[in-house]
Amino acid sequence: MTRVLIVGAGPAGIRAAETLVEAGLHPIIVDEGARAGGQIYRRPPENFRRSSKVLYGSEAGKADALHDCFERMLSQGSLSYHPNASILGLGAGQAQFLRAGKVDSLAYDKVILATGATDRMAPVPGWQNAGVYSLGATQIALKAQGVALGRRMVLAGSGPLLTLVAAQLIKAGANVEAVLDTAPLQKQAAGFVGMAMARPVVAIRGLLLRAQLGRRYHAGVRLDQIEASDTGPTAVHWRDAAGRARISACDMVGMGWHLKAETQLADLVGVPFDWDDTSAQWLQRTDAFGRGADGVYLAGDGMRILGSDGAELAGKLAATACLTDMGLAAPEAKVVLKNISRMQRFAKAVHRSFPWPAQMVRDLPDDTVLCRCENISAGALRATIDQSGPEMNRAKSLGRVGMGRCQGRYCQLAGAEVIAAQIGGQPSQVGRLRGQPPVRPVPIEAYVDPNP
């Protein structure tokens, strides 16, 4: 039987698996999570008691359906499932992965990459301090651990997650001091029309969530600095839409600017990339079904940031393409293709509403930490360009921005913006950081027996 490997058990991976199982295949699914569901439908440990209505709000029905779908396939033995396992590298029909502290490998014929996304991050002076988190982290902490990441929280950035996380925290009883959105109101209003036309219910739901934030919410802000003492953040210094200096006291900052696709594995198996102006990041070149290379299929936010509904559709499409290429009967895709193009129109409007804060990044003071892994400053990167030239990979080799253990996930876009500013150009002109295996850090004892 053809061995189909699915990387990731979020909405895209689970729906891809379902489509393959319905066609009589037995996919292998490898996931970093302890329980299938992905990030947005992440499940808490088994001994937690909150209902899915409390955990997922208006999306509880979808979350339940997805989790049930997975558990059904698992209990019927329809798939092989490796949780708590990180794929480290892919190629030549072999996937190397880390599980329980040991490196192992498995063979595959075709692979569906449903790797999801991380927060798209813009550095702010002081963001390296303990007590500063991504918005995704802030939501994961609430959902999967039942905790708020601070007593006085300031959330900053832009994108759907900013409003959603703030509203969820307030509802759960957390103390949210301020919600600072770098997107100006007029941009949001212009984008809202497109969002409302593509997905009216979702757009209005977003407005209602926003209304729950009340006077905490500020649009069109500019973030100047996260002030911190020895014990963590004490205040966020920012400017309001009129340019007035403001200070919000806090002991925690959660920040993020929408999402960035997790693309390293696709890079390793030769999928080509293009700069995507809409989402201001490098994305894989695929056809409408997610075909990225021979026997390689992509789905979900790891391919294109469409959110969880779009990810479920993309998972079905990727599996459909995989079945078609194997010469097997595949489900009719016409309706799914039509629905996903609606998701794409919506996503485009979202990106227009909540843009990447390019100018704020270009203006970062020299002493701002750009790379959190190794505390490389914006000034150090600017100085490196004199020797490396304006190219990301060479700047990484000489200046170490992107060399740390997150492998550039959180600094790559800001680094590209800083380099682009130096040459008076755009991030698309300064190259893309190449993915390097292993795509996660691996302890040396995972490869060798410590007691031979």
Binding site: E32, A130, S134, V147, C373, C406, R440
Partner: protein
């Protein structure tokens, strides 16, 4: 000692003892190592490349900010490791580590 985190829900769980820098603390069943430590304290570890402390950042295994030491040797990623009774965790490199 006051921690960084606040428990908003799921407080009816059994407790699990663990050690942090030699001191005894208690977490709850189902806590990650990150949650358990940050309930007791405001950071996980010292930064290697700067003067500040670190407390994790992405909580989804992507940023690698939350790797901490154990007295027994191997480091662990605190956001994706479940707390186990009797763990002996450290916020700084062990004294006998040559590159400290």
């Amino acid at each position: 000692m006051t921690g960084q985190l606040v428990r908003l829900a799921e407080t009816e769980r059994g407790s699990i003892p663990f050690y942090l820098d030699g001191h005894l603390f208690e977490g709850l069943e189902g806590d990650t190592v990150l949650t358990a430590i940050l309930m007791a304290r405001r950071f996980l570890r010292r930064a290697e490349f700067g003067p500040e402390n670190r407390g994790g950042f992405c909580l989804m295994g992507a940023c690698q900010d939350c790797w901490i030491w154990q007295e027994t040797g191997p480091r662990l990623r605190a956001c994706s490791t479940a707390l186990v009774a009797g763990m002996r965790l450290l916020s700084d490199v062990p004294d006998d580590w040559p590159a400290a």
